[in-house]
Symmetry: C2
Subunit: 220 residues, 2 copies
């Protein structure tokens, strides 16, 4: 089984995913700017997790998760420009929350390309495909291994086969179901789910997720 690099894997979302994937038998490479911090996180995350500097981690497997705050997305993608290679898939989970500029986490910044995922597609080397996914799974819930998941992950991208591969990967985590949400431009609305869920969470004192009704058997 291929190793799964998680760039920004020391953050709450990336670390929660690292633990859940490792538990599901997927070897994980946690990436961080600082190799030492990555190694510390890897040790905490459990068996089958290694910690590396981001650029080293990104070379470890064919599907690379990017789980960094929006304010760090562009810098990270610049650093990965000469590291990512043709055929790799970049799963972008970035949400352009206004919190990136000290605004509210219930608001989204406008991204010139339409969405953070489309910005990522513009920045990756030719031959690397961006797939948008994993915006709505709560980091606190992922990090609490006692909590069972039972929710959907909406996946957007312009190419079918990379989306299918990401869907299979996502569904390695028990309780997550992948739903095809269409072309990469749909990422704009998927990214909008995060501030919406944050707004719901504030009112309801919870960590909500998304489930679609009427899609008993997702098509891929």
């Amino acid at each position: 089984m291929d190793t799964l690099p998680i760039i920004g894997g020391t953050g709450a979302l990336g670390f929660g995913l690292a633990m859940r994937f490792a538990r599901a038998g997927v070897p994980v490479a946690i990436g961080s700017r600082d190799a030492g911090r990555a190694q510390e996180a890897a040790a905490k995350a459990g068996d089958g997790v290694e910690g590396l500097e981001n650029a080293e981690a990104a070379k470890r497997g064919p599907i690379v998760l990017l789980t960094v705050p929006f304010r760090a997305q562009s810098e990270n993608l610049t650093n990965l420009k000469h590291v990512l290679s043709e055929g790799q898939i970049l799963v972008d989970a970035t949400v352009p929350l206004a919190a990136a500029v000290s605004g509210k986490a219930t608001r989204l910044l406008g991204v010139p390309q339409g969405s953070a995922a489309q910005q990522a597609q513009e920045m990756v080397p030719d031959g690397v495909t961006v797939v948008s996914a994993l915006h709505t799974v709560s980091a606190p819930v992922l990090n609490d291994l006692d909590k069972e998941l039972d929710e959907d992950v909406l996946i957007a991208g312009d190419r079918k086969e990379p989306k299918q591969r990401v869907a299979e990967l996502v569904e390695r985590i028990p309780g997550l179901r992948a739903v095809n949400a269409g072309a990469l431009e749909a990422a704009r609305f998927i990214e909008g789910l995060t501030p919406l869920l944050i707004s719901v969470n504030i009112r309801n004192k919870t960590h909500a997720g998304i489930k679609l009704t009427g899609v008993p058997e997702p098509r891929w």
Copy 2:
């Protein structure tokens, strides 16, 4: 029980809601530009439904549903300016789909106020409160009375009590649960759920709805 005016109640969403509310024992006034068409629709919708010209319908009850295409929203609100009165609640279900300008139904137009609901709030008379709701319940599913509903309706608005009243109304329809999604500006993301669901529907050949996980007991 108060009558529920549905402006644009001859359209697919409004008519489906009219049938479902009438079945639940809520008296409905279907509004249309054309009183004759409203009466025809009312006769089809079943007992307890009357058909009236929009302006007449809007006076019939304290909570008024607006279920018109985005291209007709502004004109409808202009016509209602001298009809709606202080204390009424306008439930806006408008989605600014690019289809309004012959674009795709998987794309959203930018609305200067931030969302169609915020545009509505700017246009209603003083003392009328806009609440954003009912964007994600599929019109074809509503219109097929054999289909049981089991989904959430996200409700956004700046005042608590009107939101609570709309929540109670929505929950008169069996299978719909109302969830507080925060301030009216969250309507931007709720309106974005519609093109996202349309994109999911195209890929999965279905009529999807939304359910939130992790909100066992919504707070109001």
